[in-house]
Amino acid sequence: MSATITTRQVGDVTVVDAAGKITLGEGAAMLRDEVKNLFSAGNRKILINLGEVNYIDSSGIGELVSSFTTVTGQGGQLKLLNLTKRVHDLLQITKLYTVFEVHDDEAKAVRSFS
């Protein structure tokens, strides 16, 4: 399944729904560009929903990290929602799980943004 990236607004939080493969040459660059564009457009509260991501590689993980550092380094917030077991395991292996604020309930995640 190819990657798809769509966005929607929930209050003042921008939810990025990612689906499919987030890998080098497919979804990784799409995800990076989407977050970059959202941030450039003034969105400062970004929630990335990974619930439909069935495959991610080190490039995809790297883009999550780069997006996180870009957004948080300039005063924004970026959080993750609905990790699949696969993504969860990879974030554990790479010791990134504690770097990100991770939620499994969208409403609570949206409320968690200050």
Binding site: T23, L24, G25, Y55, D57, S58, S59, I61, G62, E63, V65, S66, F68, T69, R86, L90, I93, T94, K95, L96, V99
Partner: protein, 139 residues
């Protein structure tokens, strides 16, 4: 089924997908379950990306050699590029210090996590030769 196949692939991302699919198909024949096949597929993907992007640097004049050695108890995958090779001991640990927040450098960690054996050496021509081994019955 047991046997060896030797394939030469172009230095592009299509080859990464092709190599992953070939290895996963072989792993299924070996009887690996779905999770193990996905683990192996990811490891192959990471090794192929290293070969195509870092080793051959997408140079169309260079190839990546993929050798699948299917044995009754294991699948041995050797990937050889035409780059400069690398020393595994000199690769920074992506989980430590400032490396943790880098946007790259996690591929080798994932390979080592998802296969039973992983070795790196210089090929006769000087490029990187990496071998990934997955046993059909893991501890």
């Amino acid at each position: 089924m047991p046997g060896t196949t030797d394939t030469f692939l172009e230095s592009n991302l299509d080859s990464v997908d092709k190599a992953e699919a070939l290895c996963v198909d072989e792993a299924k024949l070996l009887g690996l379950d779905e999770d193990a096949c996905m683990d192996l597929g990811l490891a192959v993907r990471e090794a192929m990306v290293n070969a195509v992007a870092h080793g051959n640097q997408y140079d169309a004049s260079k190839q990546v050699r993929l050798v699948l050695d299917a044995r009754p108890d294991s699948l041995r995958i050797t990937i050889v590029d035409q780059g400069q090779g690398f020393d595994l001991n000199r690769v920074p640990d992506p989980t430590q210090g400032d490396n943790l927040m880098r946007g790259s450098g996690r591929g080798l960690l994932l390979i080592q996590t998802f296969v039973d054996e992983f070795t790196v050496k210089k090929s006769a021509a000087g490029g990187a030769e990496v071998t990934l081994v997955k046993y059909s019955i893991s501890d």
